[in-house]
Structures are given as C-alpha cells and as structure tokens.
C-alpha cells in the first residue's frame, strides 16, 4: 500500500460512490413515494407501510452508525454510550410529538397522559415551549451536544482513553436510563412516549407523512456521509487519525488533541440526536430501553461488522445487522442476543476490517497496486516532484547525496 491516508479515505466516495449516493437518494425520494402512494396495494410492486417504516428506522440506525464511525473509526475512541445521544434526540423531539396530541389523549387533558396519570397539574419547567416545533428541533441537537461537550471535555481533559473511556460512556448511558425509568423525571417512566397523533398538524400515520419522513432521513444520512467524507479528508481528519495512532507525537508537534477529539465527539453526538428525532415519529415510540447498555453496544457492532474507518461500512453494517435482527427476532426471538454476540466475536477474529475489508480482499487488493501516486494538490505539484514520488531512487540506496 503506497497510497496516502487522504487518498485512501477519499476513495470511499469516489465517482462510483457519488453515483451510488445519487441512486440511493433517487430511490428514497422518488421511487419509494411512487411505489407506496401511487401503486395500488394489490400490485407486487407496491411497497407496504411496514416496509416504509422499516426502511426509515434502518436509515436512522445507519445515521447513528456513521456518527459512531467518525469517532471510533477515525479518532479511535470507542463509545459504548452512543445510544444515550440517540435517545436524548428522540426524547427531545418526542416532547413535541406529545404536545401535538393536544386534547386527543385518553384523558382529554392538555397535559400528556402520563402526567395526568401521575396527577400533575402543570407542565414541568423543562417542558415549556416544547409545543413549538422549532424549539423542539433546537433541543434535539442542543441537548446531546451540550451533554457530550461537558462529558467529553472532562474525559479528554483527564486523558481518559481506550477501554476506560468505553466503560465510562457505558456507565453514563446506564445512569441516564435509570433516571429516565423514574416517573418523577417527567419523561413517562418506563413507558416513555407513545401514541403520537400529529406532526406539524399532519397525521403521523398518514402514508404521505411516512414518505416525507423517510425522505428526510435519507437526506440526513446522505448529508452526514458527505460531511463525514469532507471531515476525514481534511487536514482535520489527518490530525485525528494521527492522534489515534500516536497522540504524544501530535502534542509535541503543537496540536492540542483535546479540541480535536472534543469536536468530533460532540459532532457525533449531535448527529445521533438528529437520528433519534427522525426515528421517534417513524417508529412511534421512545422509551428508556434505547439507553440500555445493550443498545449502545449494538451500535458498535454495526460499525465493526461493516468495517471501521470507512463511513460506508457503517451504513452497510447497520443495514445488514438490522435486517438480520428483524428477521431473527420474528423467527427465533430468544436467540437474537446470542447471535449478535457470536457475530461480534466472528468479526473481531476473522474480519477485523468488516464487510468492506472482505470486499477489498475478494477483489484482491488490485485497487492499491494500480492507484496513481498521491498528489495532495494537483495544481501546485511540480512535475519533478511527481516524478520523484513514483519510485524509490536507486541513488538513495547507494548512499550518494541527493
């Protein structure tokens, strides 16, 4: 392998990648609405309600997986608490959906049902303003961002790394889950939020709404992939990978790894929040189980299965594992977790680079051999430099000075 770090990362979304992204968006934004809304249910081409929801859900997972890959694959920070940020985004937007129920709840009260049940008379302060879509949308991003920033700042400042960091994130999400299980916390306890009726006045269950939500999720995922590619191919991405490989060296050449890690960590959490907000109206429920340690570990497994540090691998992993899960939990519900654990062991042992790595292996690494020499900025490279970089000069080997 003689291609540069940037070259190898840029290849992830080369001309073929852009085409694939275009095709993906065309399917999700044009083909799916047509097949769902216009093709009659009897036709074999009709895409069912179930399929639209399932796709939306999986795309949300894929978005979380890409966010996870940004920190795990590129910065080497394994978070086992990413489910927390996903759930926080979901809860923040869920508050809006609960307020949109209005007087149509079981108790016909302006308060959400669970508050009536708890005999609360007024909304807690943190529910204020959540009937405004804009405010809920802000919370969706702001809450995970602020929490991730504060947590990350202290963790990275104290130079907590590796498995210790992973364990702390796991503890964080577990603590949050216990907090959200309590009825007094004001988020519906173990039932969480459900029975949503409307979003911006439109019925949540209407086919048109579902199709729009699916399209938005697809756009968010595509946008995240493009953003992620831009980040990892920038100098920022190279510093991040360098921090992953030799942090002390990075410090001695004058970078402060704290801000680099904190930036990507916080961004990753914010993206998870967006995914959570898109997930809740499509799936129709959010409860503290999303914060369970197992959910967060599953996110890491998606990325490991697809292939770390590839972005597209995260998408592939999330889709493959989630589809397997939908099938497994119907056919053999009690064995799913065993299968998931087994899958993780298999991938770790035999496929350290995941499905993307397997694909490259099957193609015989031809890509690397035929790759042209890396030129960081084609306009500025002199022809002499390009020539010099093709092969090691024999002069050097004989010890003559250049």
């Amino acid at each position: 392998m003689r291609t540069s770090y940037t070259e190898r990362t840029a290849r992830l979304l080369g001309p073929k990648g852009w085409t694939a992204l275009g095709v993906f968006l065309a399917i999700m934004l044009i083909a799916m609405p047509v097949l769902h809304l216009m093709v009659p249910p009897g036709s074999p081409l009709h895409v069912s309600n179930y399929a639209i929801t399932l796709m939306g859900k999986i795309l949300c997972y894929a978005l979380v997986a890409v966010a996870m890959d940004l920190i795990w694959g590129y910065a080497g920070i394994l978070s086992l608490g990413h489910g927390l940020f996903f759930a926080l985004g979901g809860y923040a937007f869920g508050m809006y959906l609960m307020r949109q129920i209005g007087l149509d709840g079981n108790y016909h009260s302006p308060l959400p049902d669970f508050m009536v049940f708890l005999d609360w008379k007024t909304l807690p302060w943190y529910w204020q303003g959540t009937d405004h879509f804009i405010w809920a949308a802000i919370l969706t991003i702001a809450v995970p961002t602020v929490i991730a920033f504060i947590f990350g700042f202290f963790a990275f400042q104290s130079r907590i790394k590796g498995v210790y960091f992973s364990i702390i994130t796991q503890a964080l999400t577990y603590a949050a889950m216990l907090l959200f299980f309590r009825n007094e916390t004001g988020f519906g306890g173990n039932n969480g939020f459900t029975d949503f009726k409307r979003i911006l006045g439109y019925s949540v269950t209407a086919p048109e709404t579902r199709v729009v939500l699916l399209g938005l999720t697809a756009l968010a995922l595509a946008g995240t992939l493009v953003l992620g590619r831009w980040l990892v191919t920038s100098r920022f991405g190279r510093v991040l990978a360098a921090t992953r490989d030799a942090e002390s060296r990075v410090m001695f050449i004058g970078y402060n790894p704290l801000w680099y890690k904190l930036f990507i960590w916080t961004l990753s959490a914010a993206l998870c929040g967006v995914a959570g907000a898109l997930y809740v109206p499509q799936v129709g429920i959010i409860n503290p189980s999303e914060m369970s340690p197992a959910s967060s570990i599953e996110i890491a497994i998606w990325v490991a299965v697809g292939g770390r540090g590839t972005l597209i691998g995260a998408v592939i992993g999330a889709v493959a594992v989630s589809l397997a899960k939908s099938w497994f939990t119907v056919s053999f519900p009690q064995y799913w977790l065993f299968f998931l654990g087994f899958l993780f062991i298999l991938v770790t042992l035999f496929l350290p680079e995941g499905l993307v790595g397997l694909y490259h292996k099957l193609r015989g690494n031809k890509v690397d051999a035929s790759e042209p020499a890396f030129t960081p900025d084609p306009e500025t490279v002199s022809p002499a430099a390009a020539k010099a970089s093709v092969a090691p000069s024999p002069r050097h080997l004989t010890g003559e000075s250049a």
């Binding site: 003689r2 770090y5 010099a388």
Partner: protein
C-alpha cells in the same frame, strides 16, 4: 550563571521560507527573547519520583545556535531533563526558561512546541498510517487549531518547504510511502524532518542515531552540523564516534546533575567522568 553570547544573532537571521511566522506569533502571547544569547536556561531543577531524585539541582545553559551533546550513564536523568523542557514533567523546584521570558514550567506541551522547542523521542514515533509527505505536512508550522485545520489548503509555498525538507532528510524519493514501511533509520530521519517543519529554535534529540548503520550515523552527523547555527541543538547520545564527529561542547550528566562540561577530549580526560563510566 549566564553564559555570554557566542556571536550568533538568531533574530536577525533571515528566516527561510517562513510564510506563517507572523501569524503563529500572534497566537503566542509570550515572545521568545534571546537578547542575551542564551536560548535555554535550566537552574537548580529537581525532579523526584517516589523519593528518587531523577534530577538533582541540575543547571544548564544552551547558547543560541549551539550544538550541545549530553552524555551520561543510564539513569543519569537525560530523558527526564528533556521531559522537563518539553513540559511533560513538572519539576519539584528550580527554573526552566526558554529565552529570557518563556517559563517552561508553566506552559503546556503544545504551547512549548509552538514557542519553538521540537523534540525527537528515543523510539522513533511517526504517523505510520500517513505518508512521508503527510507526516511532514502535519508537522508544518502553521495555525493548528481545529477550525483552521478543517479549512486548511496546502499552498505551493508550503509544498515547496515540504519538498525542501524531504531533500534535506533524503526521503524525497519516498514522498508517498507510508511511514510505517520505512526502515528504522529512515523513520529517525523522518522524525527529524517533522521537527524541522516546525521551524524550531531549539531541537532536542534523544538518541537520534540509535539503530542506524555507521553510514547513516555519519550522514546524520552531517545533517546536524548543517543545522547548527540556524537552530540550537541538544543531542543526547551514547555513540561516542557520533559525538566526536559533531564536535562542540559536551555535558556529562550523572545522578541528575552536571558532572563535567567542555569539549569531548577534556571531559573524557576528567577523572570523575572516567570513574562514573568505568568505576561501576
């Protein structure tokens, strides 16, 4: 004790191809002031680990443009001294100043690097998943904050500087090779090249020729000699042939303090030095 300037006027020297100097200075609150001709002052530095004194009232001055070799038996405190200078270890007592004004005991590691101290570790640490070119590009002296890195574009001037350093360290033929695939000696050179990209005023080199062939060692000595004058160098080394080739002043450390100082022949004739090296 302050040594008098040896005639080199560092600040007046034209800085070769340095487009970012002004910009980086603006970031750095304290300015390097070498008006007295001394770039590094260490005074009565003491560092102890669990009661063991790794450095014991160590005092040392390095002049601007000087090439100084530090020798001493294992455990003499050579690496700890470098740790103190680069901010990795905080001394229990004593003063460490870079120029007249920059207090090294108060600055953080990246700040010290920005101020102009570059360090090469004993074990070469380069970014193995990056190419030679990228390694040098990452090390380049420029604004290293997150948002600058996000929107960074390599201009032709910077490109030229990387090319120049690659020639200097004889890796110009390996620009696109992953650093992990270089030979040991080449990794050492790459690391030195990364230091040069930062345009440091003071270079700390911890056993730079360890594991090199004789031929590579001699070429490294030539490289260092060409750098002295433009930069101040502190070289920790066991290889006496290498130290001899470098010439210059030699400081012998023993049990955390300076045992002898002078040219190599003088210190080698010093009975205390002979005892330390041979007596145990």
């Amino acid at each position: 004790m302050i040594t008098v300037a040896s005639g080199t006027d560092y600040e007046a020297r034209p800085q070769w191809a340095d487009p970012t100097a002004g910009q980086a200075r603006a970031v750095q609150p304290g300015q390097l002031d070498t008006a007295h001709g001394v770039i590094l002052y260490l005074e009565d530095i003491t560092v102890s680990f669990d009661g063991f004194k790794a450095l014991n009232n160590l005092s040392l001055n390095i002049d601007v443009g000087e090439l100084r070799c530090i020798i001493g038996p294992n455990g003499a405190g050579k690496t700890t001294m470098m740790d103190v200078i680069t901010g990795k270890t905080r001394p229990d007592s004593g003063k460490a100043f870079f120029g007249q004004t920059l207090d090294l005991t108060r600055l953080k590691e990246p700040e010290i690097a920005h101020a102009g101290i570059g360090r090469k570790f004993q074990k070469p640490t380069v970014f193995e998943n990056h190419t030679v070119f990228e390694n040098l590009e990452l090390a380049m002296k420029t604004d290293k904050r997150v948002f600058k890195s996000l929107f960074f574009k390599l201009d032709s001037e910077a490109h030229g500087r990387i090319e120049a350093v690659m020639k200097q360290i004889r890796l110009d033929a390996h620009a696109n090779r992953l650093a992990g695939l270089l030979s040991h000696g080449q990794k050492q050179w790459l690391e030195i090249g990364m230091l040069l990209m930062q345009e440091p005023k003071l270079l700390l080199l911890d056993e730079p020729v360890a594991g090199m062939t004789d031929d590579e060692t001699m070429r490294t000595a030539e490289l260092f000699l060409s750098l002295a004058g433009q930069h101040s160098l502190v070289v920790v080394e066991h290889d006496m042939a290498f130290v001899e080739k470098l010439g210059g002043k030699v400081t012998v450390l023993h049990e955390g303090s300076v045992l002898a100082e002078g040219d190599l022949a003088t210190v080698q004739a010093d009975p205390r030095v002979i005892e330390v090296y041979l007596g145990r």
